[in-house]
Amino acid sequence: MQIEHGAGADVLASADERQLRLLAAAGLTDAPRVFARNEPVIVVPAGNPAKVEDLRDLRQAQRIVLGAPEVPIGAYALRILDAASTLYGTGFRQAVEAHLASRELNVRQVLAKVRLGEADAAIVYRTDAISAGDSVLAIPIPKEVNAVAEYPIAALRSAADPALARAFVDFVLSPAGQAVLGRFGFQ
């Protein structure tokens, strides 16, 4: 929305694939390319007070925080809960949502609630879990129900120096750029 209203930017890298697709369709950016993949994981506070060992145990957490369905991590969480409902029984999503304390508007807020010990469990990206260090414990979500987040990048047509903007995008996609991203938990 800020881009549509003329915010000065040269390259847009977004966690929200849809937003970038809309901008590309409107002719405001080059064709978006996927530059990183991230994977949702369960995080619990250090010490794991609710003793959540895997996705199935999520039900026993007293206070769960997820992203709002309007933001990417919340949409992924809902998809995971729905997929898990076919695996662990139809009541799984309802059982988790009954313990839902908040639907946060960004993933850092979700993570903050776990770091503060206010939430017993949450779903965030692997990169967020890594950034929190020892204050949280990451628990993988089974592949068959998990979603993979794909992050697109594109140079903006309105970039002050379009050649430089494209060169930056190429660098991010190069092995050197990918190695940097890998260090932070991106795939």
Binding site: A68, E70, V71, S102, R103, L105, E118
Partner: protein, 262 residues
């Protein structure tokens, strides 16, 4: 400055300021079609958020007016370092950014907070409940009412209280029957400011109470949530919020004028 120039300065200042204050609000309305507005009225987030905003902001107002009046009366009738310190403390929340206030509330009343950990041991949790919304709103809005009340109570003529006492009224009775009616217009104005601040509260609520439809998602949070997917819907919700706020403030203005007349 001659009279003509002075008038011109006032007219110019009024025009600039009113235009500046009105333009963003007018833009919300003017750039929105009827169809978008009606879609906003039917938005699934609206009804629960509106209900929650009205109940929590009136609860926090009741809390602030009841406790705030007593504190303001004490502060207004006493001088000395303690009275000045209490007055300063009641103004503190007004200068703290709301998001910081939310973090503070969480660290005080959250599960691992200074007081919250004691409550948690007895099975009570405040954070992420509707009560947390009310507390967040009371925290940020209390300074507005208390400041107005202190200023109003200070203007109450000591002689009138002395007369009331000499006629046999207890201190409590002279407060209720003399000080409160004399200060009513200022108290209503302070209450209106305080209520408006509660209704618009966003940062502290988001951090301390979270964002859950029907439980903690007030109107400003619903607007922000809608903005994630649909700017038009967010705009329509924001406009409805402006209309609601305006209607309530009109009612309060009426009460203010009646208080002046009384």
């Amino acid at each position: 400055m001659n009279r003509r120039a002075w008038n011109l300065v006032q007219v110019a200042a009024t025009t600039v300021l009113v235009a500046f204050l009105l333009l963003p609000i007018a833009a919300l309305a003017l750039t929105l079609g009827w169809r978008d507005f009606l879609a906003g009225v039917r938005h699934p987030l609206l009804a629960p958020a509106l209900r929650l905003s009205l109940t929590t902001s009136s609860s926090s107002l009741a809390l602030v007016v009841f406790l705030g009046s007593l504190v303001a009366w004490w502060v207004a009738r006493h001088s000395g370092p303690l009275s000045r310190a209490i007055e300063a403390i009641t103004q503190l929340p007004a200068v703290i950014p709301p998001a910081v206030a939310g973090v503070g509330l969480l660290l005080a009343f959250g599960r691992r907070g200074l007081v919250g950990s004691l409550l948690a041991r007895h099975g009570y949790g405040l954070a992420f409940t509707t009560s947390a919304v009310i507390l967040a709103e009371a925290f940020v809005s209390a300074p507005f009412f208390i400041q107005a009340a202190i200023a109003a109570f200070r203007r109450v003529d000591e002689n009138l209280l002395t007369v009331a006492r000499s006629l046999g009224a207890t201190p409590f009775r002279s407060f209720v029957r003399v000080a409160l009616p004399l200060s009513a217009p200022a108290l209503v104005a302070g209450a209106a400011m305080s209520w408006a601040r509660s209704l618009g509260e966003f940062g502290a609520t988001l951090l301390f109470a979270g964002n859950l439809t029907g439980r903690t998602q007030t109107l400003p949070l619903a607007v922000y949530t809608a903005m994630e997917t649909d700017l038009r819907a967010a705009q329509a919700l924001a406009l409805i919020m402006v209309v609601v706020a305006f209607a309530v403030l009109l009612v309060l203005r009426r009460m203010y004028r009646e208080a002046l007349g009384a």
